[in-house]
Structures are given as structure tokens and as C-alpha cells.
Amino acid sequence: MKAQDYDRPNIDIAWCPGCGNFAILKILKQALAELAISPQNLVIASGIGQAAKTPHYLQTHIFNGLHGRALPAATAIKAANPQLTVIAEGGDGDMYGEGGNHFMHTIRRNPDLTHLVHNNMVYGLTKGQASPTSQRGFVTPLQIDGVCQEPFNPLSVAIALNASFVARVFVGAFEQGVAVFKAAIQHHGYALVDILQPCVTFNKLNTYAWFEEHTYPLENSHDPGSREQAFARACEMERLPLGIFYRSQDRKVFEKQLSAYKEDQRPLYQRPLESTKLQNLLNAKRSL
């Protein structure tokens, strides 16, 4: 397949010219094309925000739900029909702020889905307030004296929770982005990709130049099988490493452990009602 196969004709994209979201969309289409995932087999669940609009800009099934709530919806979509490829996509506010509780507990469940977080360190859609990942001192119309909280570190949190795949990319590095997206989608289990994305309108601190200066690729010698190494690298805050920090096949996949799939691999919608079993259950309530 080609990236263009995912194009939606005549769409009115609501992103600012120069926004990092365009690069993410391009990386995503390229990765999907290279993996030959058909739009009919792909669901993208998203929340609310500029990032969360992404699924509207490509050919796919969409569950564009509530702010912060893409992960529970995505988990359930995969659990109801494990044959689908499922991606949950949204911004740093959406996924780490409003949806923070789901972030933790989705990692614990480990459903087979890919979690794409556009991390622009700001709330874009609501016009420039701080996000959980905003840097200390970041001045906004709301944080007039600058952010005074410790920035949320999604990678170290994910590794601490034993997420089965943890990566970070920067939109300026297309090739690496495609490679990491592909690896994340192919990974069996929960895969987090935190995507550093400049917001050219509301974040004048973390610009393209700032990201170029403050990021570098993880060395080839980095062992993504070592949780300790991965955690140490995720804690680096001065310059942010890019690439796959951690990858493990040890964890069981959520939907594979469900009773529903012990003997039957069909999606739930294809199954008939177990009327004989229901009769038997009722009859049991007639006896002593």
C-alpha cells in the first residue's frame, strides 16, 4: 500500500501551517502503508484536542470520543474484536492530564494497542495553557509567572509500570518516526510512542530548534531489553533521547486472557446467544 491510500479527499484541516501534527500524520500514513494495514481493519480512537483530530484526516474507522477517554474505548474495541488493529491517539493534555488514570491502568492491562501521544508540552486547542509535560518556567496566559510544577515524564512512568513497549520520537526525524511507529504497531501488547511535536502557535519555548538541540538518538548499544537501562535513559531530562527505550514480550496481552477468547476466537458480534446454557443456568436455580 502507499501512504496516499490513506488520504481523505477535500478535507479542511484545522491545524496551523507549520504545526508538527502534519509531520505526525505523514509518519502515520507511511507506517500504515508499509505494514499494509487496510483502513477497513484499522480503528483509531481519540479524545479531544488538536492532536485528537488526527484520525479525521486519514481513511480509517474512527472512534473520536471524549477528552481523556480514548484509552478505555480503544481497550474495549480491541477486546470486542481482537482482529482489528487499534490505535489510541491524542495530545499530552488528553492522555497524561485528563486521562492520566487510564494511562496507568491501560499499561497494567496491556491490551494490544498502540498509544500515540502528540507531546507539544502545551494545550493547543484551548489556546496555550500549560500541559502536564510543560517545562518549569513556561509562561502562559494562565501560568503568568511560569509553570512551577515538575513536568510529567511519561516514559519513566510507563517503564516503572512495566509497559511492554516504550518509545519516543521527534517529528523532525521522519525515518526514525516511521520505523518506531511500525515497531509499535507490530508489537503484541501496549505500545507507547511519545511524539515530540512543536506547537508553532502556543509554545514559543519548545520550538523546532529547541527540540533539535535538546534531543539525540539512543545509541545502537542501548539494550531495549533492559528495564533498568531504559528507566535510567528515560530519566534524562537535559537532552531527551529518541528511539525505543524498552521492549518486552514477557507480558501477557489483556484480551488474550479474557474468558471470551479461551475457546472461541471470533469477534463478539459474530457469536450466537448461548440459549441452552442459559436454560441450564436457570434450571439450576430450580433445585436445592
Partner: protein, 574 residues
Amino acid sequence: MHSSAKKNLPEDICIVLGGAAGQGIQSIETGLTRLLKQSGYHVFASKEYMSRIRGGSNSTQIRVSSGPVAAPLERIDLFIPLDGAALTHLCPRLQAASLVLGDRANLPAYPGLIDMPLTTIAQQAGDHRYASSVTIGAVVGLLGICLELLDAYLQQRFSDNPSTIIAGNRVAAAAGYQYGQKLAKTGTMQFELKALASVTGDLLLSGNEAIGLGALAGGCNFISSYPMSPGTGVLTFLAEQADEFGLVVDQAEDEIAAINMALGAWYAGARALVSTSGGGFALMSEGLSLAGMIESPLVVHLAQRPGPATGLPTHTEQGDLQLALHAGHGEFPRLVLAPGSLQEAFSLTRRAFDLADKYQLPVIILTDQFLLDSLTNIPALDLHNLQPHHQFVETDTDYARYRLTASGLSPRGLPGHGAGLVCVDSDEHDETGHISEDLALRTAMTDKRLGKQSELLQDAIAPQLLGNDDFHTLVVCWGSTYHVLREALGALKGLPVAGLHFSQLYPLPPQATAWLRQARQLLVVEGNATGQFASLLEQAYDCTVEHRILKYNGLPFTVEELKQRLQSLLDAPD
């Protein structure tokens, strides 16, 4: 022919057991209700529990009767306090005729207490923990049920235990049985219960089980919930059935996750349920609104308990009606159902899945702790035509999820089922499900969504008239007050009064209008402090409710109490 003295013997006895959490009240209730039903008696059990794992004072009321019963009584015929707190707690309800049986060694002095040395008998059988079996044995002996049945029950009940425990419980129960028989011979308790062979084959179900079975019959295959009493029972029931029925069961991290999972599940083709109580439902409000916007089917079981906030976690109330009606921002259609009996708990839950699917909207099943935790025998559940009426379609390439149609209903496709793409959006959207700020479209989409509310009336469930249609006074009730009103009205025979029970609360059924017009005096009975349904009724049917009969102390209405309150309000017949 019975002699006249014999004729007056009660055919309905009310047994109450009280004790601390952990003293075995639940297992005694389970044992007794099963044995009594299996002997051909109608039974009804209802609990009053405190929100604690140990201690406190819990009680269960078990009615044994020659005819069907399903409402709590004030009267106590046989009281078995297992500790002093139970005696103090329930003492005000005892009358001269109440028989009080208890272990003198564990109880404060009480005039009229008949000593039943539970601990001694249990210890003689090998272990003081056999006391529950002694109690079961004593009641069964007193009521003259056959010992073989008791023995069979105990063997089955303890089958997973070592043989010494089985044997010990059997010995203990047999000793209790002897005690009960001896007591029966003294004639302290007079009754004439009639056993019916047909009852032995009845179903013995709790409200929780009826809702859970209804969900299974409705094709439910996905449940995501966060534990909260009294909504947890349904979650637990379905979890127990997960292997057999291939269900997806998930204990979500919070109610927000639970409802968003349920919506994701419906989107992908599952039939999903969430079960919660008021506090959890409040957290689900935004998700409910999402169901309205994306036109997703959804079934929510809202099990009421007294609020506000944490309230009384293990007690009962009908206080969340207005919440169910109004939860969720914005304007969207919904259906609210409130079962009054086990049969309705089953059939309405089953139906909720088909209606949610047909009209693509949230259906709320409103129950309460009383209904869920009560246990009754019923002959059967309606299992005809056991196939869920799935409404989804296979899509083609020009599929649009929100195609504007005359009825407002657009065929619902599923991702991965057909050539089309299924796009749903919590933003206002166009026919294809993509975000849109076209304001003309906004009006069209709102009309489309709200239009389903009137479509829903085609399937409206008529209220049920209790009594004759030549009434002057009409007493309206809804949900779990069905049986208590029925029985209270039965005791007012001869007066021109009838009841009207609503099990569809929103949209209100048009079929009620004629009954309401006919009433010269309109009363409403409900378990809350403000008369929420009465207000709704006045608004919807343009009628005037003369009196609201309310109760909100955490307990259900009893038959005697309701009868007395009705009597004091009834217009004198012309």
C-alpha cells in the same frame, strides 16, 4: 371442612434473624429459603445490612407462605437474635405474639425468650462454627419439613469440605431439628402452611440474579464496571458466568473508564452493560452524553442507595430518579426503565439491550438495594424467542454512519464488518461522522437525535393496574414498590382504590393518561424524600397529586405501614 378455629391459623409466617456481620445470617438465609421452597412453600427474603464486614447489626426477614409473597412485613412471628445488638435493634418490632428464640448464653435477659442453646448444641456436634446449621435445623424442625431434605441440602452445601465437617454439620442440624420439633409439639407457634408441589420446581432468585440473567438473555457479552454497592451484585453474577458464556468482564479503574469501555465495546459490536450506583453514575454523566451524541446503544444498571454522596451504602432508596432523567449535558434521548418484580427485572433488562440497539441510545435500568438483595420464588421467566435482535448492518463503500433518514435512525455499521468506514465523533459531525461546524447541519443532527425520543413511544410499556378499574382513588408507584403496594391494596379490599405501577419512567407511557384522568384522588408512593416521580407525573400528564407517601430512612416500605398510611388518606367512599 376446616373448623373455624383452624381456619384462622396463619398461612403466612414472618421469620426474622438478626446478628453481627460474620455470624452466618447469609448462610442461614440461603439454607432456609432453599429448603422451604423445595418443600413447596412460597418464600420471600429481604435483608437489612450495615456497611461493615464484621460487627454491626444485620438482619434478614424470611416470609414463608401458602401463597406468593414478595413484600416486607412489619410483623415478626419468629425472631432469632444471634446477639444482643440484634435484640435491641429489632425489639421495637416485637409483639406479644412474637416468638423469640435464642441462645440465652449469648444474649441479655429478655422476657419471653425461649432458650435455644445453639453454641452448646454446635459444640456437642464438634465445633461452635456449626451453629448456623443448628439454627437451620431448628427452624426446619419447627416448621415440620422433612429431615431427609435438610440432610441432602447440607451434604451438597458442604460438599467441598472434608468429611468431618460435613458430618459435623449434619449432626448439628439434626440436633437443631430435634429441638425444633420438640418446640413445635408445645404448640407455642400455630400456623397452617400449605405446601404446593408446583412450588418445589420454582426458580428461587434474587433481584441481582434476575438482572444478570436478563442481561445474558439480552445478549450481553461485555461488562465493565467499578464496584459500588448495591450495583456490584450484577457485576459479580456476570463474572461468575464469564467462562460459561464467553463474556468480557473488566473491573475498570473508575466509572469513567467503565462507561467509555462500554461505548467502545458497543461500537465494535459487543452488547455492553455497566452496573453502578448513584455516585458512580454521576461520574458516568459525560459518557452518557457521549452515548447520546455518537448514537451508541448502551445499557446502564443504576442500583440506587440513599444519597447524597456516600449516603447509606447498604440501604435502599428511590432517590436517583431525577439523576437518571437528567444526567449528561446537552439534549439527547434516553429510556429509563424500573422493574418492580423479578420477572420484570429479567424481562426489562433483556429488552433494554434490544431497545438500546434498535434506537441507538442509552437505556437506564433503575433498581435499588431492596429489589436486588431480595429473594423470591417464581414459576418461570419468559424465555420465548431467545435471540438478540441485532440491528447492525454490513457496510458498503459509501456507508455513512449518520445518514439522515426520516425516522432519525441511521443503520449502524461495525468496524471490520463490510467495506465501509464507521466513524463516530463526540464533536458535532456530518453524515459520515466527521467533525463539522456547519450550523445548519447542527440543527438537522439535533433534530435527528431527539426525533428518536418520540419513536421510542412505539415500544412504550404501559403501566400495570393493580385492582379493579372502578376506582376513585388511584395510588401510583414505580419500580420496587410494586409488590408492597399490591399487598397493601389487597388488605384494603372493598374500598374503591386501585394501584398503578410504572416500569417505564421515561419517556412516560401515553397509555397511563386514561387511568390518571379517571382518578378522583391521586396518591403517589415512593422511597424518597421529595416525591420525584410525583413531580414528573404532574408535569407529564397535567394531573395533581393530592398526597405523596414517602419513605427515606433507608428501609423499604412494609405492607402494614403502607396499608395504614393509605387508609388514613383514602377519601371516604360515596
